[in-house]
Amino acid sequence: MAAINPSGSAMVADPSAGRDVALAVSPANHVRRGLTAIVLLLALHMAWLIVANEAFQWHVVFNWLFDPSVMQGLMVTLGLTVVAMVLGTVIGLVLAICRLSGSRIASGFAGLYIWFFRGTPMLVQLIFWYNLATLFPEIAITIPFGPRLIGWDTNALITPLTAAIVGLALNEAAYMAEIIRAGLISVDPGQNEAAQAFGMTRQRALRRIIIPQAMRSIIPPTGNQLISMIKGTSLVSVIAMNDLLYSVQAIYNRTFEIIPLLMVAVVWYLFVTSILNVGQSYIEAYYARGDRRGEVRPATVPDPEPA
């Protein structure tokens, strides 16, 4: 056992007591350095192959990058993503709460919903909503098996836009429901108990106590969902919704500059995704507050109390 150096100096005068670890340096790792160099070189070469490749026609890409119709498509994609994601999350939250409720009917309904929407292809769902009029020519509010109160012509109601929103949101809700449910059950049941004992209703306990803690595990997969939603919105081009992909397709159908115009879309998808990644890390940091591992103010760490 080495004795502790009472002077606390960086130099340990007596080598028999071991050497001060403050002086330690990492040994050179030549294998690791070599590998890093090789990977960097390969990556640079790849980048060069893409940038210098005439076939990508970067000047064409740049010409179309800020084209009004592309910008319009980008806005449609972003708008669709936001609306569908918000609706999907709200419906997903309701479904998750239904699944976890004691009610067999509510949890059975939510289970059925999730089973159906996760089990069928998104593309089929979109086409189905777009062609809803052939199945139900009129959408009406009626008393079940009773008189009809008010109705709309389905064809007038289901535009590409509404079909896209309904299709994306309802599908998203099924996935969000499972993500939110997993988050809610990850919270210590003692939290719900404390909230109840302090006179909170179930609703208030969810909003103030359970959901903020569930967010820790809800955010990362939700970030995933959001990113696949942005790209998933490109499916709506099949129902003639003029999103980002649809707008570049419209252009290359005229100009035949397929690759550069797809690159325009790729650049924008990557740009938006990158911004989302940054946003996600801020949100994660926010919900990590109170977690000692995520400590940002070491000054508030308490001194050990005398017993």
Binding site: A194, A197, F198, G199, E295, E305, A307
Partner: protein, 262 residues
């Protein structure tokens, strides 16, 4: 309490009668009768699994019992008596009925995403509609009382177990309860941290708060309890002043239990 008050018995705050509770076929409470008077500190002892926590949780209706009644003041938490019919209370009625009952848990159950101060004012402000400034002033007073004035802005995970439990006590006091329930408040603590929590609880008992305390700390029972109740197998086996039950128990089960824990 002054001597003159002692002459007439204090009114009963908690009156439990024939409380039965089973999980499936497993009978956990087999007819509990208990009166707790205003200002009294009652310590419930008993081997683990004897139903102590379950009984405590029946008092504020965290668990629903299947037979019998528990009256806290004039309320029967979880139920409403109206026009000759006993109705199950709605969730918001139950929330209101719990107003006067503070609870302290074995695992503290502080809200980890809120600071100490936010933990304490959450129920007074959010549930009972107190003014935030007043609730915060009262919270600071309570923190001083449990000896944690400087920790108002710390998060629970930055505190030791003993400090967390004292915050949990302050949080329970913040709703100005007339009854406090403690479920093994020191069982999750390192031995050297038990003392600070018990000291806080002794102060509360002396201040005249009505307390029901489930614990294995015989020293606390000896020093702070007005009455000790020994539970075993879902029944009350023996009860009386600590001086008698702890020193000279009449039931062999009590004797066996005390021999094990002391």
């Amino acid at each position: 309490m002054t001597a003159s008050e002692k002459t007439s018995p204090d009114p009963v705050l908690v009156r439990a009668r024939d409380v039965h509770k089973a999980y499936g076929d497993h009978e956990v409470l087999k007819g509990i009768d208990m009166d707790v008077r205003v200002g009294e500190t009652v310590v419930i002892l008993g081997p683990s699994g004897s139903g102590k926590s379950t009984f405590l949780r029946c008092i504020n209706h965290l668990e629903a019992m299947q037979k019998g009644s528990i009256l806290v003041g004039e309320e029967q938490v979880g139920y409403v008596w109206r026009n000759g019919t006993l109705y199950r209370a709605t969730p918001s009625q139950i929330a209101r009925q719990r107003r006067g009952i503070g609870m302290v848990f074995q695992q503290f159950n502080l809200y980890p995403h809120m600071t100490v101060l936010q933990n304490i004012v959450e129920a007074p402000v959010g549930v009972y509609g107190e003014k935030r400034s007043e609730a915060e002033a009262y919270a600071h007073m309570l923190l001083k009382r449990v000896g944690l004035s400087e920790k108002a802005n710390a998060y629970p995970r930055q505190l030791s177990g003993g400090q967390q439990q004292r915050v949990a006590i302050a949080r329970a006091l913040a709703i100005r309860p007339r009854l406090m329930l403690f479920d093994e408040p020191t069982s999750a603590l390192d031995p050297e941290l038990v003392g600070e929590v018990l000291a806080t609880m002794r102060d509360l008992a002396q201040s005249g708060l009505t307390m029901i305390v489930v614990t294995h700390e015989i020293s606390f029972a000896r020093e702070a309890a007005d009455r000790v109740i020994f539970m075993d197998g879902g029944r009350i086996v023996e009860e009386g002043p600590p001086g008698r039950v702890l020193v000279n128990p009449s039931h062999p089960r009590t004797r066996a239990f005390l021999n094990r824990v002391i």
